[in-house]
Symmetry: C2
Subunit: 112 residues, 2 copies
DNA sequence: ATTAGTACTTTGTGTTGCAAGGTATTTGAA
DNA sequence: TTCAAATACCTTGCAACACAAAGTACTAAT
């Protein structure tokens, strides 16, 4: 209940994470740990307990598929890949995201 | 579970709503129904059952205060007003929002 | 008196992010 | 050989939140 700055960020991440995952996988297939790294690099900090269930949800919705691949070091990796349905959903998310950005701008602009 | 386009929007709204409320009240005090109207005008559709608990939460956190005012037509109105603490939180949210916008841009830009 | 309009409130449900802990595989050092 | 470290994936329990739906209360006009 403390750390309001971090809590603010956590709240805002909600609903945007799915959009980030699909956007990342739209570029190229990836496995969970590498997705985590990319999110961290982009300043969107997420933990494993958030990402894994999310990937499983999106897979169950038919937005993603996956395949196992051996690794040269460490256990095998589950490579996720966006599907046609996932790409369609991503298109809707692009529109929705732009709308929200515009909405915030509209509300903010009236201040002047 | 249907209407994926609307569901996408609903998910993305999560976490941004508090930011919108504080931003609106940072301009001038307002009562719930008028806030609803402003959100609708800005394309951020919200229903009563979402807004009222949110206002109460923010009031309980000390981000807002309110006063009753008689209306010339209809029941009295609860006018909400942002507090110093609310303005401070709004400042943090401004930063958090800009970070998320940048994050999305970063992820998207690598596609080219 | 009754209805319509305005405004505020509450209850129950499903989704989601997260902390914390767990399982499994590989590699390299003791 | 065994044991620790690194990598990777998964699960459980909890709290927060948006929403649908239904409810309460006040006012004004019919």
């Amino acid at each position: 209940m403390e750390n309001s700055a971090e809590n603010v960020r956590s709240q805002m991440r909600k609903g945007v994470l799915e959009y980030c995952i699909l956007s990342i996988l739209d570029k190229k297939e990836a496995y969970a740990s590498s997705i985590l790294d990319e999110l961290k690099a982009a300043n969107m900090i997420v933990v494993e307990g958030t990402l894994y269930p999310l990937l499983i949800r999106q897979k169950n919705q038919g937005l993603l598929s996956y395949r196992w691949e051996e690794s040269t070091q460490g256990p095998p990796r589950k490579y996720y890949c966006i599907t046609d349905k996932g790409r369609q959903q991503l298109g809707e998310m692009d529109v929705a995201w732009q709308e929200i950005v515009d909405t915030i701008r509209t509300i903010k602009e009236q201040q002047r």
